[in-house]
Amino acid sequence: MRQVVAMSLVVAATASGCASAGELPDADGSVLVLAAASLTDVFGSLADVFEATHAGTEIRLNFAASSSLREQILGGLPGDVFASADETNVDEVVAAGDASGEPKAFARNGLAIAVPAGNPAAVNGIADLARSELLVGLCAETVPCGELARRAISVAGIEASVDTHEPDVRALLTKVEAGELDAAIVYATDVAAAAGRVDSVEIELAVDVTTTYAIVTLAAGANPDGAELFVQFVLSAEGRRILGDHGFVAP
């Protein structure tokens, strides 16, 4: 229950445009990081370690679908750092002149099929997503995980029988955890993060279907120094190690 409500609040924050970003309790000491929903756990860990080693700096995290964050940035959300689950959304922010630095690739992620614990619908692979009696979910095609999932489905050459297109990957995962969906294509790291609550079914394809995560500092940020430090930390050996611990692959 807690999980779903927490996720729902993320969705709500996305939907309402997250108006609270403007009021910084301590503008010098805080860095507002806008990050893809699939980075929820790993960026929590990264922020904890960063704060422990940079006294007086507070990392404030705002998670949503990368495409939602891109829209908010283009709309003037004064964030310091943008970490996207693909390179396209970062490129669009750069093209709009809203980035202050060069985008850097920092991780790679693949896909997996998440099924409720125990796999009650006996899903064995991506071909099972064509079974019309199953409740199948994907991310909406406008968000990176949805785009990637559609690529995998097209590589697999199947006609998926989809019942819902969720606004972000964690909202999708939550519905699998609750047992309301029989199968959903999510990031490999998401099933790892929810291990025990969902089971993972591998997607075996002839072509590797992965996405590259990119990070960039933002022009509208109130704390450019803090932003630069945090990006360097994500790219550092320590950052790589934490990303690896959560199942992300080096780019």
Binding site: V4, L9, T164
Partner: protein, 268 residues
């Protein structure tokens, strides 16, 4: 929502009041004007004729009207119970049925999932027994819409009941009318302005419902993707389409609020 026929001329208002009222109007009107301003008029017909938009419009009209009708059928008896009876826990009942007005809709959606989902405390046994599945279906959208919209019906009718002149009902009882006849022939006709107001409010609220719908019913074109969900998806891919659907929603909601209200109510 006041009782009808109570407008009095009280002379001009101080200039400051008018100024603040002007700010209030601007706060709501300026964003609406901005939507109209940015709408891609040259592409409007093409965008609105798109299959995604047509599907969303059809689904939105059907599910919101369904929710408004259910709100009427269930909400009016509920208002009567809350306003007229002395059953224990009445104020708690009133608070619970009003809660969806202030609860974040996504929390409502999550709660609905735990109640009526496939593993829900009601939805689980229902699914086992009948195979009926409410999430990810049009009926799920109606349920989510009703959950959010019904309180508007209950509150409107309840407040009207409290302001109702008790004499016509008392007279009818004295003349030998049964309880059921009094409600049908006296109470409900007297309540007509409030019934219309409650119906209009709950319908308009259902039409704009987003959070509970996406959380409980999911998002699939043609079966659960209502207009607000279509706007949310389009905002990130096709902004012209998002603006066009938004315009349609604004026009529809205004038509419901202004049209129905002015047609059925002289004063509200």
């Amino acid at each position: 929502m006041n009782a009808p026929g109570r407008r009095h001329r009280r002379g001009a208002l101080p200039i400051g009041v008018a100024g603040l009222a002007g700010i209030g109007v601007a706060l709501v009107a300026v964003p609406l004007v901005a939507v109209v301003w940015r709408v891609p008029w040259s592409r409007l017909a093409a965008v609105l004729g798109d299959e995604v938009v047509v599907d969303a419009l059809r689904l939105s009209l059907a599910t919101s009207a369904g929710a408004a009708v259910i709100s009427l059928v269930i909400g009016v008896p509920l208002a009567l119970v809350v306003a007229r009876t002395e059953i224990p826990g009445r104020s708690l009942i009133r608070a619970i049925v009003t809660l969806p007005v202030i609860l974040p809709p996504v929390v409502g959606g999550a709660a609905l999932l735990y109640a009526f989902g496939r593993r829900g405390i009601v939805g689980g046994p229902l699914y086992e027994a009948t195979g009926i599945l409410l999430p990810f279906s049009g009926w799920g959208v109606v349920l989510a819409n009703t959950f959010i919209a019904m309180p508007f019906m209950v509150l409107t009718v309840e407040s009207a009941l409290r302001g109702l002149d008790p004499r016509p009902e008392a007279a009818a009882r004295t003349l030998g009318a049964s309880r059921w006849t009094v409600i049908r022939r006296v109470t409900l006709p007297l309540l007509r302005p409030a019934l219309v107001a409650g119906f209009v409010l709950s319908w308009a609220r259902a039409l704009g419902e987003f959070g509970a719908t996406v959380t409980f019913a999911g998002n699939l074109q043609g079966s659960t993707q209502t207009m607000p969900l279509a706007v949310f998806v389009a905002l990130e891919s096709d902004r012209d389409a998002a603006l066009a659907i938004s315009l349609l929603l604004v026009v529809l909601s205004l038509a419901i609020l202004v049209g129905l209200r002015d047609r059925w109510l002289r004063s509200w």
